[in-house]
Subunit: 252 residues, 8 copies
């Protein structure tokens, strides 16, 4: 399957071979394809070649106009585009220009998926949460993994305060190829899951909690010190976990 | 006294003995009673068996719809149900479905109490605050202890800046079976009370204060380092203190 | 059973009634019994009346001479005396003056136990550790609880990385009247135990670990944020946990 | 290839089938194989079944006697055994009992490798450091990965202050299947490597540095916030990185 | 070129020489020129003599009335005046009194520039950002440097996640005389740029990011620990970086 | 001069002597005067005897109703009453009941001053700020000191960035009896003033600043570490500084 | 009473008046008296004029040679000289050159007191500690206050865990003119003392404690947040407290 | 003046031009000159081209053997070589191989200076310290700047507690081209100096101090928040300040 971006490169090469482009023109065309300078943003178009998925737009801290323009530019070369930490207002503005854009309110993500990537049903990424309040982060992880071409299984609200809830799902955990554990408060779920399986466990601390939780610090430190050996991403970083899980899941 | 949940289990067992249920059906029925998977939440129904009170709903971070649905599901099996950190809007939505739900605005709690648990008048839990601003946390503790079947005495605004206020209440403190001390700022009240009594003292730091208080950090550290040996819960965690006090108070 | 200290008070009262002491003399005698000013230390002799066990000597930061002198003075009025965080050198000096003093090197405690307090075999305090490295703190807790008149059961090295180790001991945990959970690193064991039992759980974070453990901070925050509702004492404070567990265990 | 532990289980099963063991005896035998209670330690013998490598001994905080005893017990059932954070004195004591134990002073590891696991030469784990001072942590990671059956390539001292050093090794990085990046100070190397490759990157912050480094905090925070999306383990946790990399590298 | 303030001093001196002012009057006049006491503010009018640019108004925490009054007073003696961290409401009020005031919404700056300072085209200050969200801070730096008489080149969104974006601009970086690097998250861009050039690099951490970013702490610590040796200013302090860059750029 | 509260005590004593009150009644009356239990607040009426000024109402965290009621109760016994951290809404409600209450919006204080205390003109308390943004805290200190009977001199916006501003006021500083220095950002003004005078200097860090200021932490740490030896109060605690300065200023 | 330093200035003035010195020579002589540049140290000789006591030598971080030389130079102009945080080795070296130097090992102070300052017996500075381990800091405060001309009363080991110990000393506290409270752990003693007296209370947090004490952080935060309004100095800064108390105690 | 390294490059180019080297050989030779892989270290030989001085060896965390080998390798291509944070033992080993190496014990630096760089006497770098204890860091800065070809003036122990000491040196400060301010404790000296001059000020916080100094944190935060706008380097990083000052001082 060929992406838009790959097709564009191919066209340049063919034109060059057919002498429609000089060497100088061809180099300039490829360079323009790779790094697109918008003034306020420098799009790294070659990332999809290097990393298998185009640059993802982190929308927080950008103006609505910037988000719309970046999305449009990315769509000129790519079929599937993702925006994270997007507000409803950003989505409305994108939607006006890109009618097939969809929005997940809980995960705060804008998605355009014109050529869905194939999913390998034998390699499931399990997304597990300790509580209901962790679900927004979990959905960010799950949707990211899905759009990047992975089958995802959700196992929500199985925190360690009621261990029987987790033990009831051990079979599902053991069948997964990669596991993302999402927990706030003390983050103990990551340690317990890490001890039950022999697959890579990615832990996402969330800012769920209060007081000595310090906006996710307690879960973060807990996971970093886990005696079960899990790998950790930033607090509330569902996207990062989904993306790394996808990279691991695509190793052959 | 038999809870709803215990009755349901009994019924299944009787049906099984009476050959109305096969073994497989009976096991499935008990399992369904114990862990109820709502997708976004996995209710641990067996907790009331294990810990004497059904799962309490921590409402913060949940949607209004989720809170209502969880409350309804819990009430199918339990007589008394508690929701903490609930907003007025959550309560309004619950009230529409559960007319006998009540709300304490200061403590931010939704309570349904259909079969009040008996209270032992000889075993009082004293709830003590350093200042007036600590009362919301104190009420969360007091109401939690009460609904879990404990007699509660409130002693408010007796911080150490005016020691005579506290000394005037020493007799009350000494008569209590368990004492919850709630204080912000430097949290010194816990140390002083801990030195005056021979009963278990649970200390709750609050985020009351400003500046180098760091949202309750100063009271938390003070209480953890108390030379009087008190046990500490999370900042502003009135519920936790009330629940632990109840467990201690029910030891025989 | 009457302690030395109680006998001394009784004698004064009897002498007063028998007109061997004037009122002024009697008051002075009682006062001298209660607060003993050594210049560098003010011994609170009445604590055993108020809290059931004489003042315990926190030896860290005291000179060897101070430790010896305080121990001797306490032994003039009490049968059982405890010194915590004591070095071997402190013990050697105490031993020279108090031949029946014993020392536990791992727990760093000096103990004189001339009239062992009775233990109620039906009310066991379980002392549970996540790892082997947590044992010094656990022994401080266990020995403290024992000398204060409690039966203690040790359950060591059952951290959550190998959950089967813990599950194998659930029955022991459920039989205990009070449970002390001692863990470093992420401290997840406290949350898991808290979810399995309906008894008071006291959590002791330890400084075991490295890196983002920050000398016990990770375990401390984890335990404070535990979704299972446990009560927490200071990092490495085995003594405090043992003492509070004892107070709870003696409630009737 | 069958491990000692698997053979032991098989023997029990065969004895049971041959009626040499009763059902009760067989169950007890398997249980004893799985969890070995040494009093101060509870060995989780079944971990090699669950996670592909026996429990690794974290030696810090254990006495020399404990380390020796645990190593001996593990070797009764396993061929390859690993001890981390071990002192030279611990090694000397182990060596006296286990003559084929070897020690890597820089990585502080004791290793017994009686049946080396096969390594897949096409799936290399690259271990990359920013500086020379990061090498002890890197060696812990590299030796862990190697003993767990992985081919390892070391790329040391290629930090971003001299970017040409790193760019000269890009091909090596791109050929690797999993990459471990080890850096202290600001930890920027992880971000740069993460941006260059499409393989999983595990980042290990080290405590190398001084001042506002805060014992590795600066590198830890830098890596957690990396815009390149890397997964992070605890400060100086070379072992954890090596183990997780191994798990990922063995996915099929 | 003579500033208003210098002219005012000259006038006093001339009046004094011409015997229009007594010595006492002249001293008082100069003193009044130098320190202007507004009650709520003490303007340091001599700063332009000492440091080449009049006192800059830090508007945050001041009332609108105070901002307007200070701006007016400064304009009585100076041609170019700058207000930082100004709200739109502050600008509206200033504009009503000072019609030629302009406002940059992104940089939150009010500027009056009546006698633009000359810029040396051979000494460019490069302002470089890691991402689009860092631009508000970058604009504060760029506008500050420009109004203080420096030619500025903007290079935005070239963070290390896509190193090719940065490498494409190395020539621009090497031509600059002073470089300001502005980055949030892990701040790695400062280290990479610092390793590529031999010119002074000023690093500005921004609060862009979330979670373990801790409002810019991660970028701050990263930059302070940079192995490339950069000098750092406060989080989000674009103004400070612009001003120091200007001082360095004017050294002869 | 006799306060209302002193008169009330006298009346009770006279009534008792005149046999209008029994001993029991007199004790109860005094007790009621001293500690007034409002349920949500326990007013320490005897504080004016012990500390020279009635209890001051810290309004933050109290409801409007509570503030009004406490103010009314205090005014029954005292002539001068102070409320700090009060909102305009609180003041409106107090004003409705206590028409002579006045409000200082900048200092957020409600004051009733019916019998102004005498001020000693020879013992001035100087209140010094580094910047204009520190004035709200300074006014809290100045108004507190004034109502407690002290002459106050304000010296505002003389921070160390323009040392000439401060040096111009050295005489004023040296004439003061007690000096309060209020500064945010790095808080250096306290050190400089402390080095210039031989009078007690009270330092108040403010939360003015941004970034690595961490809500006043930088100024707080700076002042605590001052090589000039100043005494420090909590961040933004103008009231505390004013009160302590008053106590020092009244020493004879 | 005239100090050495005052005599030296007088001599210069007299020589100048007597025309033994030119104006230039006189100015140079005074300047040399005031600031003595030793290369590694710039002695501020005029401090005794400005602040009533010569510069005190903070010995930590200085070499032994530097300490000796500074002490000798100070003694050329002053009668009483103080060195803090001095090691025994530093003292030995000083003693060799200054035979009347004395050393207090607990307080780590070197003192030369050739002309003791008068003490006013009616103005006592009370130095109060919570525990025995706080005594070294207390002695630093007490000895500093004494050598600066103040009568000192020591009240040691009266922490709040045994409140009766403190209440027994209330009369002593109330008679003092200034009170220094020294406490580690949670520092609650400062709050309690502050509530009992109407005199200035200076609080010194100590690093006594462990775990969540964080080297004195808990006591520091507790004291800064004290609801009793005390003024705080740096952790373990007995010297600072003694010096400030002396300044306050000398106000007339 | 031509460095060794430049000569080596030239030779390769000449050999290539003279056909003594093939193209492939020439490229390999240059590459080998630029990046020298020692296994444990990758020397960036081209840094002297890029940044005007060869790579400086940060000795902390390296073994003695590594330090010696790196120094020797660098000296093969460079005339002047610097090692920082070196122990006396490291120096002894280097000295054995490099007899002209010298060591500064206070600054902990090993220096080989075979071809001293010229210093411009009109462009002085002033190195200023607040106290005597800051001198080791100051010497690291001063020696670094000197060996990199700058004239240095030392101004030591002029902290703000005795402002007259600093004011006496204002002329020296104003004459300097770049100023390095080194201070521990509260770091206020940087702010004061920054307000007095119009030249670039580099601030170096030191770990001098105790208690709430937190190993230099207080000075670091103070300098970052300086209202005078200074640029800051890491705690105790004298080397970094000297190097950046040198870069600034060489701008033309």
């Amino acid at each position: 399957m060929q992406t838009k971006y790959e097709k564009a490169i191919l066209e340049i090469l063919q034109d060059y071979q057919a002498h429609k482009l000089t060497e100088t023109e061809a180099v300039a065309s490829v360079k323009a394809l790779n790094v697109l300078d918008l003034g306020f943003a420098t799009l790294d178009q070659s990332r999809s070649l290097r990393q298998g998925f185009p640059e993802v737009v982190y929308c927080a801290g950008k103006t609505i106009e910037q988000v719309v323009l970046i999305m449009e530019k990315l769509l000129e070369q790519h079929d599937n585009v993702l925006g994270t930490r997007a507000t409803a207002a950003m989505y409305a503005a994108v939607k006006a220009k890109v009618p097939d854009a969809v929005y997940d309110e809980m995960a705060r993500m804008i998605m355009v998926e014109r050529q869905p990537l194939p999913q390998d049903a034998d390699r499931v990424i399990a997304v597990v949460t300790a509580g209901t309040s962790d679900i927004p982060v979990a959905e960010e992880a799950a949707l990211t993994a899905a759009i990047m071409g992975n089958k995802v299984q959700r196992i929500y609200d199985v925190g360690v305060a009621g261990l029987n809830r987790l033990l009831a799902r051990v079979e599902d955990l053991r069948k997964a190829n990669v596991i993302i554990v999402i927990a706030g408060m003390e983050g103990a779920l990551a340690s317990v899951v890490g001890g039950l399986v022999a697959k890579p466990v990615l832990a996402v601390p969330t800012s769920v909690g209060y007081g000595a939780n310090f906006q996710g610090m307690s879960a973060l430190l807990g996971m970093l010190n886990s005696c079960s050996g899990v790998a950790v991403v930033n607090i509330d970083n569902g996207f990062g976990a989904g993306r790394i899980a996808s990279i691991i899941n695509h190793l052959r």
